[in-house]
Amino acid sequence: MSTSTFERKPPIKLAELSSLSPAELAAVNGVLAKLKDAPGALLPVLHGIQDALGFVPKDAVPIVAKAMNLSRAEVHGVISFYHWYRTEKPGEHVIHLCRAEACQAVGGRALEQHVKTTLGIDFHETTADGRYTLEPAYCLGNCAVGPSLLIDMELKGRVTPTRFDRLTGAVA
């Protein structure tokens, strides 16, 4: 049997490049150590990471997958299914603006336009100066005193365009 001129070499195993800083890595591992063994722990783990870092970095996916004995696709699939999880670093302040019917009935659509124009961004975007990230919400449970928004997880009701400008002025 003649030897082939093409020899199959074992694939070179490169160390996985990770963009996570040591602090981010420590946060991810800390959350995993604390939560990963609870039944059905993936959502709590992802919440833990996002609460600590503000988002779920894409390089956290293989770490979570390995620690929880899941495939990367499973972890990625869960992150992409749920609107709450973010894979990009958000701005300094995150605004969740309600788009749902009860807020629409009291000027929610006009407020939405005002917010987008004032900040100069659409939903899921961050202002160029990195101050604000705008996300849509479908109901914040404040339906008797809308339009409503969450700013850094604090609920605000009866938000007129003027009140919105005051709120952003206050946290700027």
Partner: protein
């Protein structure tokens, strides 16, 4: 010489709706003003009465009862003290319990709303809390299930399935481990009763779930709470820790050797996870994809085990049934709709708030006697009952009594009891389009009618309104709605056509193209 007066008790709600209007700042201002004047006060952060147009509603305990002031802003605080707490003031609304809005309600589930400090176990016990569980601890599981069945309680999340029958199935199911899951993924716009229980009376939900655990032999419970409710999460976790510390949760509930463990799990912004099988997938750490039924969750639910899954209000209605008896609960209501429903008035309404009434109350009564018409002062044009999947109801149907069957006969839905009011400025074609857009955004994607139909629905409505072959488009839209109604796997795709069709049927004029649109089209 006068005796030194005891500290005055002042209440400022910690409900997030009150906070959204400035309650935290008011509480700070009250503490500061009292300190400045050297007045001894006892500041209680209570739950909300549910009279949201009055929030922040400050109450002062007097011998005659609790006097209310509302809505109070921080700059009003100095004048409240200057007038003398409990005395006449422009914001004084009198004795809160005597307000007709409250006095004419039948508050069974919300008996403690606005009265107690939500995270105080002592307050809960002093106001009738845990009496239902004490009774349940002395009963056989079958007897607890029988009481819930006998009460006529139906699922308050929207599907209105008899709670007792669900529990009986789980009780009879084989399984080493069973679960109680509370659906607190209250995603329907116009509803906030679940939020008010989680934030305002968390022990009530804990008690209801513990009773459910005893009834079916489940030792573990989860509250699946939407992440848009951070205030509810904090209140529930604080209450659960306190219930564990006092032996109301854990391995040996009040020395009975019965076990029940409970934890809060947060959702992640997916409306579909309010659908029970999708919620269970999510609790298992997966994408919230709807499951095929059967098997029912009662047989194979969370982690494949028999599971009771009920909405917050269903579980929160159980303690009063076990405390006062099935007969007491059942005597409220009409037809097959027994007990009370906490109705939530929302949107463009003057007096928006929580109205817990026995079934049978008419929409007109709710909208005008309680709601006082619109906030804008314009006439009411349409109300959406039952959340984003509920139909838009016109004035001609306002005499409809609140009753699951009466609503269903007209293709309407009681749902979770949210009523969103729209005034005459509403564009119903825009609302119909939003229903389709919402369905497209929130569809889990498992079935075609919902995943594709919702996007096609938006396109067809756009063409219809633009005057592009309107007769054909309307026929197409109706056909599409029919496919979604009959062919979707769950209620999202299966009910999103209700608001669309009701808007089209009751307000056809809004779907006719505007003259300038016609010009553009030609």
């Amino acid at each position: 010489m006068k005796p030194i007066p005891a500290p005055i008790t002042i209440y400022v709600p910690r409900d997030s709706a009150a906070i959204s209007l400035g309650a935290d700042d008011v509480a700070i201002a009250i503490a500061a003003e009292a300190a400045r004047l050297g007045v001894a006060i006892h500041l209680v952060r209570n739950s909300s009465r549910g009279l949201f147009w009055l929030e922040p509603l400050v109450e002062v305990a007097t011998e005659a009862g609790r006097i209310g002031y509302g809505p109070v802003q921080p700059e009003d605080v100095a004048s409240l003290f200057a007038a003398g707490l409990g005395n006449a003031h422009a914001l004084n609304i009198g004795i809160v319990d005597e307000l007709p809005y409250l006095k004419t309600q039948e508050r069974l589930t919300f008996a403690r709303a606005g009265i107690t400090d939500p995270v105080s176990l002592d307050d809960y016990l002093a106001h009738g809390g845990y009496r239902g569980l004490k009774n349940a601890l002395a009963m056989a599981p079958e007897a607890i299930v029988a009481a819930v069945t006998e009460s006529g309680l139906r699922g308050r999340g929207g599907a209105a399935f008899p709670a007792g029958i669900k529990w009986k199935t789980v009780l009879g199911a084989e399984g080493a481990q069973k679960y109680i899951v509370c659906n607190a993924d209250e995603g329907d716009s116009g509803t906030y009763a679940d939020r008010m229980v989680c934030e305002g009376d968390p022990f009530l939900l804990i008690e209801g779930m513990t009773i459910a655990g005893l009834a079916v032999g489940a030792t573990r419970g989860y509250i699946y709470l939407r992440c848009e409710y951070p205030y509810g999460q904090r209140a529930l976790e604080e209450a659960i820790a306190s219930a564990y510390a006092s032996g109301w949760l854990g391995a040996n509930i009040q020395g009975s050797a019965k076990r029940f463990d409970l934890e809060v799990r947060m959702g992640a912004g997916a409306y579909i996870c309010g659908e029970e099988t999708s919620l269970l997938e999510s609790l298992e750490g997966k994408r919230g994809m709807v499951r095929f039924k059967p098997p029912l969750p009662a047989i194979k639910g969370l982690f494949g085990c028999p599971t009771v899954i009920n909405n917050v209000i269903t579980l929160a209605s159980v303690p009063v049934i076990l405390d006062k008896g099935a007969e007491y609960y059942k005597h409220f209501g009409v037809g097959r709709s027994r007990g009370t429903l906490p109705v939530q008035l929302a949107g463009n309404v003057k007096f928006g708030g929580l109205v817990e009434k026995a079934f049978g109350v008419t929409l007109r009564d709710l909208l005008y006697t309680y709601g006082g018409g619109t906030l804008s002062g314009k006439p009411i044009r349409a109300v959406q009952v039952g959340g984003p999947l509920g139909s838009y109801i016109p004035e001609s149907q306002f005499d409809l009594p609140l009753d699951y069957e009466a609503y269903a006969r007209l293709n309407n839905m009681v749902g979770h009891g949210g009523i969103t009011v729209f005034d005459s400025s509403v564009d119903m074609a825009e609302q119909a389009r939003f229903s389709m857009e919402f369905c497209a955004t929130e569809s889990c994607g498992k079935c075609t009618p919902c995943r594709i139909g919702s996007t096609r629905g938006m396109e067809v409505i756009d063409k219809l309104v633009a005057g592009d072959q309107p007769v054909k488009q309307e026929a197409l839209l109706r056909d599409l709605c029919d496919t979604m109604l009959a062919g979707s796997l769950c209620a999202l795709g299966g009910m999103a056509p209700f608001p669309v069709l009701s808007a089209l049927n009751h307000f056809p004029e809004d779907f006719r193209p505007q003259p300038e649109m016609l010009e553009k089209a030609s």
